[in-house]
Amino acid sequence: MGVLSFLAGIIASSVVASIIAVLYSLVLPGIERKVQARVQQRIGPPILTPGWWAVLKFRYKAKTEPIAQMPGFYKSIVYLGLGVVILLFLFSTPYWWAVLGWGSILGLAGLLKLEEVLYVLMGSQSQSILSTSMPVPDLAKGAKGEGIRREFVEQHSAERALKMMAIGSIPLYLALIVPFAAAKSGLLSSVVALQNPAYSAASWFSLPLPSSPILFTVPGLLAAVVYFVGYVMLLNEKPFSILKAKIDVIEGGVLEYAADLRAVYYIMRNLLLFTLSSIFVTLFLGIPFDPFMPLLFILNMLLSLIMPVALAIFVAFSPIFTFRQIYPATIGLSALGVLAMILAASI
């Protein structure tokens, strides 16, 4: 009985949680764009346009075959990506905390890493018309660089993704460790229990508020800053958008996704945007996304707005960094993260 009801609970909670999360996350890009537009002194698009309607519209576009080395594989990567993000999100919801110990720092970090690898794969697959295969006579007689390997911009973006993987996500992981270090446990459940003791006993309609959020301690604050920048890095947003910078590699590996594939990509990206900020709220404020506690998950969703809005403002005021700036920035941030970790462990 216990197993069955647990299974039923986990399936129901997963379905409910993912549907709510996907629908909600598609509102975020609109809010992001609107905030940027306001900063830029203009009206900006209606809030549902960049997310909701765009995704729906792409669903209704004719399917086209991407130009890629292995089109089938290339197409499957984006579904894989979506799957990874959904799992990532589910792992942060309470029902999954107990499953195979995945609701832990290892589960989260592993999935995030997998997500990053996908960008490398996408990049090395895609071969859009926008660079090497553009029908212009490049290798006319007398042109420079004969016999040199010619690369697609997406492949260049894959190389950049590899570098970003190696260095770019370190701050986020360091920041992730902080709450776990403070709880002296690797499990999400204990992190939440530490901050929000009322949660485990609360009934479905109540709103258990955290008593001692980590965010309001010194290491928590430091870690939050680091987490935020890591969030920007992981989402490849400015200033860390080097692997899909519009100014040289345009969108990198996702360039060739069209029609429904692009819709999936949009969902994936926006869900990641939401998931990471939802995880932040869970970890640093102790308010998990519990699909069966309406007040609690609404609070989680509302608090999850903070990160995207902060991101939008941040993006509006920052240029794209090249690796010349990214290396020092990551090193500095990692140092900050380590400091936060040490402080957290000594609480």
């Binding site: 905030v35 306001r38 900063v39 002194q41 203009r42 009206i43 403002i313």
Partner: protein, 164 residues
Amino acid sequence: MITFLRLMLEGAYRNFARIVNKADRATSIEIRRKVVTLSVPPLDTVLDETCIGCSGCYNVCPTKAITMVPLERPVEIVEGYMKTQVPRIDLEKCVYCLNCHDICPIYSVFGEAAPIHGRDVGTPHMTIQEILKKPVRAPPETIEQLSKLIPVESLALIKGGERK
């Protein structure tokens, strides 16, 4: 660093106002209204008021983009000269070469602001009666050249013969 901090604080205040309160928004609401109602007016290419209906532009246009449409009620501009038609430009044929602008008498011959221009001309600050009262400054060669392009009854006006 100090200046940067000061700018940051000032900027934070101003941008907060921008985000929350739509402060100093620069989007033109006028244009927005025109676009959403799909009624962006085309540029005023011919100023019917000042045109004297001479067909100079009609004759000179290299792409035959101009047609002369008869006026419902002809206007007597000066004694003995009726304006019976005004040009209309088909913008899809026009190449904006400004030949019409340059040949238009109100511009080329008298050297005043032109009522017709492939593009917007701003506001000509005169009436046609005033223009015609001024002495004519066209050299004879110009009139000679023009006479190949324009109807005879208008030519008389340029020469200034019949004018009282």
